[in-house]
Symmetry: C2
């Protein structure tokens, strides 16, 4: 595995990599990330991964400084998974002096996470566009767990005609259902015990949907019930159009995304299921 | 010459074109455009040109509907210049239903033309990023006449790591000095007679700079004098840092860009010289 830190080095290596799959990450790699690396290896000649804790997608009060950075362990996991290229740029490499451009992906970025975290998806879209231009992959892989991010990525690539195929890998879960996230390590033992309520709520709603329930309010209530029995504070529970993420009242033939964000102390957990 | 109207057709042809030079235009081609095509032919294996009157860079009160579209003559000129690929997308091909992304290139886009035409450079940057992603040229060519646009392009490409080299071709002028522009045809005969005052003013300032004058106010006055003797209304005369386009009082070792915009009736004319 080549470990490189500059744009120039990536560009020098790129031509030797053939059809390239790319997994952009912020590090603190877990089995969710590694499932995307596996998907990429299955579909491409070679896999590149980036580890970059992108400052522009954090608000000033958020956890940029605290965000876990276990670089040695991350590199060992990537190496063991036969990743060909690990790109670990510095913030200065990505945002040199004079950097002054941003990409705004429109209304899909304003809802849900975008409403709670203004500017977040502009930071994500801009850094991913840069990484795509640096790595020039054929296919890029994102996790279903961050469902709005997957929609923002599709909008970005479609709107700017970026010649990269986007593939979404399924959410990987702990045995009790908790979706894997680099932020799960922030949870106290008590919070960790309660956090499986998110998956239980989603599962209840999913089963009701499978049984024929199409009313969004009813499904939201089913998802909400187990979370109400914890200390978690619900930021939102959304039943939304799968393309636009606009809230729906009644789920039609296109199905819906049921997504939620719940805070346990300072830790925000996200999860979702696709209905239909 | 292949004439194509869809993204898919461009992508199908692109691999056969080798090292590709690209001249994005809004059509109404003149010798300025064709000098860029020549530059591209000198430096690359093949040349692609686009003709697209981009609606998002026009404000509602501007001349989008009136903008000249002599498509047959344009195609004949491109063909005669050995252009390999002419891309003439429809507005729907570039902005399909649901399109919702824009690129903002920061403070360099807010000054001068950006201050007079809010949103203009966001429209330009977004469409050029799209065209670059569609055509994937190695080198792209822009005219010095639109000097702020050239700076916005450099900022865009640098900030988003777009793997395209930007080359700026010199301004091509009429015998009396008027910079070629597709909008010159809007000028009445009387206005056309007076319009050479822009180039005369710039030349006077350029000669003073060559003679040692470094004071921006003095140079601005020299540029202004001949224009004051016409019916033209000056939008701005700027002496600015060549990288940031920030106004300067005294020209330092980096030189400056002296640029101006003058209205003759509804027609805005731009011109500039690089000092140093």
């Amino acid at each position: 595995m080549k470990i490189v830190r500059t744009v120039e080095e990536v560009r020098a290596i790129r031509p030797s990599l053939g059809r390239l799959g790319f997994v952009p990450t912020m590090g603190a790699l877990h089995d969710g990330h590694m499932s995307l690396v596996s998907l990429a290896a299955d579909r491409c000649d070679a896999v590149a991964a980036s580890i970059f804790v992108n400052p522009t997608q954090f608000a000033p009060h958020e956890d940029l400084a605290l965000y876990p950075r276990p670089i040695e362990a991350d590199l060992a996991r990537l190496e063991a998974a036969n990743v060909a290229l690990a790109f670990l740029p510095s913030p200065q490499e990505i945002y040199p002096a004079g950097f002054d451009t941003r990409i705004e992906v429109g209304t899909i970025a304003d809802r849900l996470e975008g409403a709670v975290r203004p500017g977040h998806f502009s930071g994500v879209a801009t850094v991913v566009a840069k990484l795509f231009n640096i790595v020039t992959p054929d296919v890029a892989f994102f996790g279903q767990k961050d469902v709005q991010q997957t929609r923002v990525m599709r909008q970005l690539v479609r709107d700017l005609d970026i010649p990269v195929e986007i593939v979404i890998g399924p959410t990987v879960r702990e045995p009790d259902g908790l979706a894997l996230s680099s932020r799960n390590i922030y949870l106290s033992e008590a919070e960790r015990g309660e956090a499986s309520a998110l998956a239980r709520g989603l599962k209840a709603a999913e089963e009701a949907f499978a049984g024929g329930v199409r009313d969004a309010t009813a499904l939201r209530r089913l998802a909400e019930a187990p979370i109400r029995q914890t200390m978690g504070i619900i930021d939102y529970i959304s039943v939304a159009d799968p393309d636009t993420l606009e809230e729906v009242d009644l789920i039609g033939p296109n199905g819906a995304v049921l997504s939620l964000a719940v805070r346990f102390g300072p830790t925000r957990l996200l999860d979702n299921v696709i209905l239909g």
